[in-house]
């Protein structure tokens, strides 16, 4: 079948402002939106710019707005979208560079600001540190994050102030705060109790809806708020 794909285009070298361009492509219902973008780039307009790599929802390169929702182009099938024109636009809240490519550096800076790494200066045992399956399960959900930015760039609080660390950074703080092997939970909670930390979250749930890994983000943020309020991780 033939599908219309309407893409928000912007070339900083020639355009004053972004504009829409519509392409017609042959598609199967099981095609990924990424497949359509590849067909357009490969056979109609090679200048179309977007990021992609693994093409099956793991590398997190191709988050974009598809019919108004933040999604991964490689994990969105034509048959799962409502009939008619498919609209593809870049993520909001990060500066637009070209077509579907936005500046990811601020996003990764927020990620780095929450100490997203295990801290434990006790001498390690000769073998593994022990961790029960229950302790491991406590932070399982937040280990799934692929840093695609779909959550952070769907968050109205982030849109209104880009200094907010955003849901993705909080998810990655959660992954360590609730890891029984980590020793820097208190420090991360202090960072996140800052005015640009968790209290910018107003439980709008856009992030949870947008996450292609189905991480319960708002719940994770809530757990951190509670930990800050009670001073306890239980």
């Amino acid at each position: 079948m033939e599908i219309k794909v309407k893409i928000l285009r912007f070339n900083p070298e020639t355009d004053k402002r972004p504009h829409y361009q519509t392409f017609r492509v042959e598609a199967e219902p099981t095609d990924r939106v990424l497949d359509l973008l590849e067909k357009i780039k490969g056979y109609q307009d090679g200048s179309l710019a977007f990021r992609r790599s693994c093409a099956h929802g793991i590398c997190g390169s191709d988050a974009m707005r598809i019919n108004g929702m933040n999604r991964l182009a490689c994990k969105t099938l034509v048959k799962d979208l409502s009939k008619g024109t498919i609209t593809v636009e870049p993520l909001l809240g990060l500066s637009l560079i070209k077509d579907l490519i936005v500046d990811m550096d601020p996003f990764f800076e927020h990620y780095e600001s929450v100490m997203p790494y295990l801290v434990n200066d006790e001498p390690p045992p000769l073998k593994e540190r022990l961790q029960s399956p229950e302790e491991r399960e406590r932070f399982d959900d937040t280990t799934k994050c692929i840093l695609c930015a779909a959550c952070t760039t769907s968050c109205p609080s982030f849109w209104s102030n880009g200094r907010y660390v955003g849901p993705a950074a909080i998810v990655n703080a959660h992954r360590f705060i609730f890891d029984s092997r980590d020793r820097a939970g208190a420090e991360r909670l202090r960072i996140l109790s800052d005015q640009f930390g968790v209290y910018r979250c107003h439980t709008i749930f856009n992030c949870t809806l947008a996450c292609p890994r189905e991480i319960q983000i708002t719940k994770a943020i809530g757990e951190i708020k509670r930990a800050i309020a009670t001073g306890s991780l239980d």
Binding site: Y43, C59, L118, P124, E128, T143, R175
Partner: protein
């Protein structure tokens, strides 16, 4: 043009590159130059686990792991390097755990382990639980953990920079030339040690598990600088790719008890590998699948088979096999257990196939997956450039881009993640040690010229010309048909002719984008050029090897021939596009070649 100076520069930010950077940066100034943000690297898609004989669930030994890897390699792996890797494996996995990697756990809190193809108890010959895993996203967790540790250790990253060329001064590595994607500005990274960790080149084939980014940049850059590629004819086809899409379904599915079923409802692997059945080596299983399809035993007569992990199927065959848990009780699985151990696989099937693997079998076909061949190195990660293993000073390679060779003619599952943590680490340590004792040499004034010429020759927006995508499609088709799981002289000669024709057409491209900001069309075109070169080298190496060994299966030479072919291929790409082949011996220490059955 900007010039940067570091002791060590690492190309690529996957598992091998990050591991190398982490260790090099302990003593040397280190930069990572990567065309992707680190978390986008293909290591993240590895699923089933990393092999190490921890023995957490049953008896196991690094010696058994060594033998299994030698046998899996069809005796083409270098046994000194394999022994080194398998001995280092145990420490390397504990080290990852100490860095914070969230492995799945046993009830007593240790790292969980599952069976994987070709990994056996060397006394009974039965599958052994050796793969250390984090659900079915072990690669994701390795990549995240190493990236996190690099952030903690202040490693410098140049993300979205495409490396185009290697700078050699009097036969010594002195840095690389790269282009910044966002601006098209050229950068020279002047360095005493260069570690190539750019990954594989599975995009040569039509059905592939590989990311778009896997375009063999490292090997292509090296070939253009006169460095040979080793054992390129050995490329692994993973048995279970999602039908048509090629997306990987981990061997861990079969580790958890899943079985392959043909159109007659038969568990056909019993006929091909009576002892370990569905957990035979990948080359063995992929060939069996092709033979089943050729005999018309695909599902509904089509070109796919089923991978069945429904609990009732798993439990039926586990009972027939007499499979037990570590405590001796019969092995039985529940839906809940599968959901916990294989969440991503279940998600892939729901997303891309619209089926639930708990209720329905998955349609699968072999998919191009992993390069056993690559830039020749010794076990310290140093690049070696001739039959006598002469070292090229200052140049290192690790991970899929390299050929140590620990995988020989066929890699065992879980040994790729192991390869990158062990050899990434040692390449990093060795490179830093060398770089810190070495004086910087003056760079030639024209250091960036060759890189610039390559892009200039592609950057044509006017006049007549062809789109690069058509050329790429034709390459993938011909490689899939003639240089895939089964090969013949006739087919490969045809393929070689076609590839040379495509190479000619490639000289006459036309682009739509002649801008400087994220000109991804230009860089994609350059990547396709890399794939074309590697396809030619692969085919020429395969055509010359008149035997069948591991992943290289010749219908016209169906037997392994140790008398003539127990040797590594070295292939040089000459200026006229011809491939020059030479050979070097395999290192054999403890395990003389014998017949390989599973």
């Amino acid at each position: 043009m900007k010039v940067h100076q570091f002791d060590v520069v690492v190309l690529g930010a996957g598992g091998a590159g990050l591991m190398a950077a982490l260790y090099a940066s302990k003593t040397a100034t280190t930069a990572v130059v990567s065309k992707l943000y680190p978390s986008r690297s293909h290591t993240g898609t590895a699923q089933g686990g990393v092999g190490a004989a921890l023995g957490n669930l049953e008896e196991d030994h690094p010696e058994w792991h060594t033998f299994d890897t030698v046998k899996g390699s069809d005796y083409l792996g270098d046994q000194d390097a394999i022994e080194f890797m398998c001995n280092e494996a145990v420490r390397a996995v504990y080290e990852l755990e100490h860095m914070g990697l969230p492995f799945s756990r046993t009830p007593d809190g240790r790292i969980a382990q599952r069976p994987f193809g070709g990994h056996t108890n060397n006394i009974t010959g039965k599958p052994v639980r050796r793969s250390c895993y984090a659900a079915d996203r072990t690669g994701h967790m390795i990549l995240q953990t190493l990236y996190q540790q690099c952030i903690k250790n202040n490693v410098t990253f140049f993300n979205e920079f495409q490396v185009l060329d290697l700078i050699l001064v009097n036969g010594v590595a002195q840095g690389v030339v790269a282009i910044e994607l966002a601006t098209s500005e050229f950068h020279i990274f002047h360095a005493n040690a260069v570690i190539i960790a750019t990954g594989g080149h599975g995009r040569i084939w039509k059905i592939t598990s590989n990311a778009y980014a896997m375009t063999g940049d490292g090997v292509a850059i090296a070939l253009r600088r006169g460095i040979p590629a080793e054992d390129m004819e050995f490329f692994q086809f993973h048995p279970t790719g999602i039908y048509k899409l090629g997306i990987l379904i981990t061997e861990g599915v079969r580790g958890e008890g899943g079985v392959l079923i043909n159109g007659q409802g038969e568990r056909f692997m019993e006929r091909y590998a009576p002892r370990v059945k569905d957990l035979a080596s990948r080359d063995v299983v992929s060939r069996a699948m092709y033979l089943e399809l050729r005999e018309g035993r695909g599902i509904d007569g089509k070109d796919f088979l089923y991978l069945d992990v429904r609990p009732e199927t798993v439990n039926k065959f586990a009972a027939l096999d007499g499979r037990t848990r570590p405590d001796g009780s019969p092995y039985r699985v529940t839906t809940e257990e599968l959901l916990l151990k294989l969440p991503d696989i279940i998600d892939f099937c729901r997303t891309y196939l619209g089926i639930d693997p708990i209720q329905q079998p998955m349609p699968v076909q072999p998919t191009a997956h992993y390069a056993m061949g690559g830039i020749p190195t010794n076990r310290f990660g140093e690049v070696v450039i001739d039959e006598k293993n002469k070292v090229l000073p200052g140049l290192y390679a690790a991970g899929e881009v390299s050929c140590v060779s620990v995988h020989g003619a066929n890699r065992l599952g879980t040994n790729s993640l192991l390869d990158l943590i062990v050899f990434g680490k040692h390449a990093g340590l060795r490179a830093a040690e060398y770089a810190c004792q070495t004086q910087f040499k003056t760079l030639p004034k024209d250091a960036a010229d060759f890189a610039r010429e390559q892009l200039d020759s592609l950057r044509r927006c006017k006049g007549e010309g062809e789109r690069v995508s058509a050329i790429a499609e034709e390459m993938k088709e011909v490689m899939m048909e003639h240089v895939g799981v089964f090969r013949t002289a006739e087919g490969m000669e045809q393929a070689l002719k076609k590839l040379q024709e495509l190479k000619e057409r490639y000289r006459n491209l036309k682009l739509d984008d002649c801008g400087t900001v994220f000109n991804t069309e230009l860089l994609n075109a350059w990547e396709i050029g890399n794939l074309l070169d590697l396809a030619i080298v692969t085919t020429a190496s395969a055509l010359a090897r008149k035997e069948s060994r591991g992943a290289h299966a010749r219908e016209d030479y169906p037997k392994r021939d140790d008398k003539n072919w127990l040797k590594h291929t070295l292939a040089w790409l000459e200026d006229d596009g011809k491939v020059k082949l030479r050979y070097k011996p395999v290192v054999i220490t403890k395990y003389p070649p014998k017949e390989r059955t599973y």
